[in-house]
Symmetry: D2
Subunit: 264 residues, 4 copies
C-alpha cells in the first residue's frame, strides 16, 4: 500500500512532516511519500523521504514565466507528481501533455479524477497510477468505508479495462488505518492523505497508526498457502503478501518424519 501525503498549501512545517514520514517509512518498510508545494520540494527531498510534486506544468522548456516544469521538479529531488488533483483540474489535452512531460524526465505519475468514467478516460494516457476522488469524499470527514464504496471498486474495474498495469489509488476519504484497509480491500494499491496527517497534532503518531495495519493486520489477513508434491516431498509454501509489493515465503518440506523449514 503506497501512502502519499499531500501537504497542499497547509500552514504545516513541510520539513518536520517529511522527517517524520521518513522515520515511519524506514521503521515500517511501508512506502510513504510527501508532496509539498513546489518551492518546498528541495527542502523536503533533502530529508531523504520519497518526494512528489502536487502539480507540474505540461510545457517543454521555453518562455513560460511562472510555470513549474518537469525538469525543474526532477532537479529539486522529486521523483513523482500528481496530475489533475481536484484542486487543480486540467484540460483534457493538458493531462495528456503533462503525463508525457513527466515521462520525459522519468517522474512517476498519478492522475486524479472524479468517478469511474473519468478514471477510465485518464488511464488512456498511460500514467503509472490513477487516483479516484469521489466528490462526496473530497475535503470532508466522510470515510471511504462508510460512504458508497462501489465508486472505488468501479474505478478499479474501469482502469483495468483500459490498462491492467495501471495502479489505482484511493484519493479521498482516508484518515485512519481502517480506511486504508478498506481501500485496499476495494482494490486500491495506494492512498492519498492530506489534512489527516498535515493537520495532525503529532503527524508521526498518526503515520504510525496508519502504517500499523499495513504492517500487521493486513499481513495476517493476507497469508496464502500452496501445497504441492515434489520428489516425494510434501511441500507447503506459506506466503505472506505485503501490500507494498513484497512477499515473504516460508517453505515447509515433509518427507516421512523429516520436516525441513526454510525461512526467508
Amino acid at each position: 500500500m503506497f501512502i502519499l501525503i499531500n501537504l497542499k498549501a497547509y500552514p504545516a512545517d513541510p520539513v518536520a512532516i517529511a522527517s517524520a514520514a521518513k522515520e515511519v517509512a524506514d521503521a515500517s518498510g511501508a512506502r510513504i511519500a510527501v508532496a509539498p508545494q513546489a518551492a518546498d520540494l528541495a527542502a523536503v527531498a533533502e530529508t531523504g523521504v520519497e518526494t512528489w510534486a502536487q502539480h507540474i506544468d505540461p510545457n517543454d522548456p521555453g518562455s513560460h514565466t511562472g510555470s513549474t516544469l518537469a525538469e525543474a521538479t526532477k532537479r529539486s529531488g522529486a521523483t513523482g507528481t500528481l496530475i489533475n488533483h481536484s484542486e487543480q483540474r486540467l484540460r483534457l489535452a493538458t493531462i495528456d501533455a503533462t503525463v508525457q512531460a513527466a515521462e520525459r524526465v522519468e517522474l512517476e505519475t498519478c492522475v486524479c479524477a472524479n468517478n469511474p468514467a473519468q478514471i477510465g478516460a485518464v488511464t488512456a494516457f498511460g500514467p503509472d497510477a490513477v487516483a479516484v476522488e469521489p466528490p462526496a469524499l473530497i475535503g470532508g470527514d466522510v470515510s471511504v468505508a462508510t460512504a458508497d464504496p462501489d465508486i472505488i471498486s468501479n474505478a478499479v474495474t474501469a482502469a483495468a479495462e483500459v490498462n491492467a498495469e495501471t495502479a489505482v489509488y484511493c484519493g479521498a476519504g482516508i484518515s485512519s488505518g481502517d480506511d486504508l484497509e478498506t481501500a485496499s480491500e476495494l482494490g486500491a494499491t495506494g492512498v492519498l492523505l492530506a489534512s489527516g496527517v498535515a493537520k495532525a497534532d503529532d503527524p508521526q503518531a498518526t503515520l504510525n497508526s496508519l502504517v500499523e495495519p499495513v504492517s500487521w493486520i493486513t499481513l495476517s489477513s493476507r497469508v496464502s498457502f500452496s501445497f504441492s508434491l515434489c520428489s516425494g516431498y510434501q511441500l507447503l509454501v506459506i506466503r505472506f503478501l505485503y501490500p507494498v509489493h513484497t512477499t515473504i515465503d516460508i517453505l515447509l518440506a515433509l518427507k516421512g518424519d523429516v520436516l525441513a523449514l526454510h525461512l526467508p
Copy 2:
C-alpha cells in the same frame, strides 16, 4: 538601476546563472536579482544572490493543491515576486489579492502590465514596483531604444499620477547596456531581462557588459556641480550620480591660494 533576470522555464542551469549574477553584483555594486522556477528557488537562494519568484498564488494557507503560496516562496529564500507577467496574466481581483498575499510575508512586489492605462490600473493596488511590457517588444529582438519609447515614459507618468512612490521598471526590449541606459533615461529605475542573459553563451560576460554602462558611461553623463560660498571658502561639490541610488561627492574648498580636496 535594478536588474531582474527572469529565467522563465529556459533549459539554462539556474545555479550557474545565479552564481554569475552574484559575482557581478558583488563586483559592481549593482543590484541584480534572479527569478527561477518555483522548484529552483531554494537552490538559487543558496548562492546568496537576491532571489525573486516568477509568480505566486493569491491564496491564504489551506486546501490549494498545486499552488505556490507567498509563505512557501518566502521560506525558500526568495525576497520578491513578479505578478501578472505577460506569460502568466491574472484576473484583476487576483492581482489585488496577490499583492496583499506578498505583503503578508513581506515579499517585494513587481506587477507587470501591457500599456500605460494598465500600469495606472495596477499601481492602484500598491505594489512596490510596476513593469511595463509593451506587446510589440515582448519576446522579440526589438530594443526599447528603437521602438516607440513613449510607452515607457507614459507608463512612468501613469504610475506617478496614482502613486509617486511606485518604482517603474522596463519589462521588455532590454538586451544590452545601451537598452538599459535608454530605459533609465525614459524614467525607469529597473529592467527585466530574460533570454539576453539566460540564453547567453557566457551569462557572466553578458551581465558585466550590462552593468558596465551603469558603472561608467552613466556615471560620466550624470555629474552635477554645485558652487557655494561659506565662511570665506569657495566650495565646489562635484556629485557623481549612480543609477543604483548611490552618489559620490568630491568637495573642493578654495580660500586664497589654499585648495582643500575632500575625497569620499
Copy 3:
C-alpha cells in the same frame, strides 16, 4: 437611477421578465435593462426592453470557436454589456481589451469590481460605468443599507479621481426600493439586481415596488429652490430632480399682486 436586471443562468423565463420590465419602464419612465444569457439575447431584445449582455469575449472576429463577440452581441439587439462580473472575473489585460471590443461596435459598458481600489483600477480603461460588488454583499441577503456603506461611497470617490465622467453603479446588496434609495444617496447612479427580480413570484410587482421610490420618494426628497429678481419680478424656480437624469421646473413669477405660474 439605472436598474439593470441580471438574469444570470436562473431557470426563469427571460421573455416573461423582459416583457414585465418593458411595461414597468414604459409606465414609470425609469430606465430598466435586462441582461439574459447570450443565447437568449435576441428573444429578449424582441420585447423592446433595453437589452444587455452578461459578458462578451475580447476577441476580434476570427477563429474563436465558442466565443461571443461584441459584433454578434450587437447584432442580436443588445446595446450594452457587463464586463468582469464577480461570476466571470477576467484577466486585467482582458478587461482592457473587452472595453475596447465593446467600443468597436458602440456597446455601452459596465465593468464590475470588488472594492474601491479595483474600481479605481478599472475606471482607467474608460468604460461608461463601473459597478462595485462588495464580496460581503454578493449573492447574499445582506442589504447595502445595513452593511458597511463606505465601500460604495469610497468607490464613487475612487472612480471620480480617475475619471469624473464614469457612472458608478451598486452591483450587490439591492433587493428593495429602500436599497435603491440608499445606493442613490451613497452616490451610485445605477444598480444591478439579480435574484430579487429573477426569482420573484411576481417580477412585475417587484419591479414596480423598486421603481416607486424612484418615481415618488426620491422625487420629493430631491426638490431644489432657486430665487432671483429680474425686471421687477420675484422669480422662484422649483426644480424636481429625477434620478433618471431628467428635471422638471416650475416657475413662479411675482410682481406686485400678480402671480404667474409656469408649469412644464
Copy 4:
C-alpha cells in the same frame, strides 16, 4: 455523411450562410448543420437549418453570470453542441459535466479531441459523436487526404474500442468534396468545416461542391450486389449506399424470360 459548418467568430453573415446551407441540404438530402455564436443561435435556427452551438457551459441553472447553459441553448432552437473544440479546450471533469448537461435537455453532442488516445478518453463520457482534430491539420490548408491519414482511422478504432455506437467525425483538414470522401473512407461518418465555407465568396456553391460527391461519386463507389434464388426466381438486388445513412435498393427478378424490375 454529416456536414457541420462551424462559423467560429468569423465576420461572415450567419443568416446568409444558414439559408444557403438549408437550401443545399433540402436539395441534396445531405445532413448539414450550422454552428454560429451563441448570440446568433436564434436567428440561425429561424432559417430552418439544423442548428448547433459551438460550446455550452456545464452548469446547472443558477448564479452563473456570463454562462450559456444547455437550457438557453435548447430554447434558442439549437439541437446539438460541440464540446471541447480545439479553440475552447475544457477540463476533463468539465467535459464529463457538459455531456451530462446536454443530455439533460436532449442536445446532441460531439466532443472534439486531438489524437486517438484522447478520442478514446472522451468516448468514455458517452457523447453521441467525437471529432478528431489532428493538431497538424487545425486551422491550416493541409488536407486530411495528404497528411498522415492514420490518425483518423486510429481514432475510429480508439472510439470503437470504448463504445461502438459513438460516431466519429473528422474535425480538421476538410475543405473539398475529395477531403470529405477521404474522411468517409477512413471511417468518419461526419466532418467539421469552418473557413472553407464561412470565408468562401459563394458559400452555397462551396456547399454544393462538397455535397456533390456525397450524392454522386460516393454513390457510384458504394454499390453492392446480392444475388439469390427464391421460388424459381433469380433475384439480383443492387443496393446504393449513401453515406447519409440511407440506402436505395433496385430489385431485378428473372424467371424464364420474364424480367421484373422493382424501383424504389
